[in-house]
Amino acid sequence: MRGPGDGGMNAVAEATVRVKLFAGLRERAGWGERTWPHSAGLTPHQIWSQLPDPAPAHTVRVAINHSFASFETPLNPDDELAFLPPISGG
C-alpha cells in the first residue's frame, strides 16, 4: 500500500490525519495506525479505496474523532479516522 507515515511525506508542517484500523481490518492490512497526508476535500472513502485488498465497504463503519460518521464526510487536518469492522460487543 501507499506508505503515509513511512517516509518523507510527513514534514513537520504537513497537515495530516491519523488513521486507525481495528481487529480483523488491522490484521488484514498489517498495521493499526498511520498518519495520512491531508488534502482539501479528503474523505474516508478516498483513504479506504487506497488500502490494498480492503474489506467490502458495506461491512465497515467509519468514526471520526470517536463519533460515527459517513464515508463521505470531509476530513479536517488532525482528525482521527477509524475504520471499524462489524462490532461484536463487549
Binding site: 481495528f22 481487529a23 480483523g24 468514526a63 470517536h66 463519533s67 471499524l84 462489524p86 460487543g89
Partner: protein, 151 residues
Amino acid sequence: MNWPSCRRSVEAERREPVEATMPRLDLQLLTTTLDPLACLVAWQRQLADLPGGMPAAEAHFTGRVRGVSGQGLPLEALELEHYPAMAERRLQELAMVTAQGAAAVLVAVDRRGPAQRCGQALLEGLQHEVPFWKREWVNGVGTWLEGNTPL
C-alpha cells in the same frame, strides 16, 4: 475479558460530584477476574450514599463467556479488543439516552419497568453500538466474530 475488581477508578474519583438527578456512569475495563457479587455490593454502597438513599428498583445483568465457540467447539479463549476513547464516549452517550428515557419516569425510579428497560437498552447498545470486537480461539486458530448472538 476478565474483570478484576469493582473499586472506583482513579479517574472516577477525580470527577466533580454529580447531581443526584444526573445519570452516573462508572466504566472500567478490567484485566483480572470479575467478582460480580463483590461488584454489586460495592455499587450498592455507592448508591446508599446518594441523596435520598438507594432507589427501590435495580436491574442487574451478568454476562459470562461460553465454554464453546459459535460452531459448538471447545473454546480455548475469548479475546476482546476495543477502541478505548470511542468506547467510553459511546457508553456515555448511551447512558445519557437511556437516562433521558427514564427521565420521563424519574419519579418512577422506584419501579421495575424503567430499571429493566434501561438495563436492556444499555446492554444492547453495548453489543451493537460500542466498538468492541471478540475473537474466538479454537484449536489455536483465532476467528474474529462479526455480530452477536440473538437476543
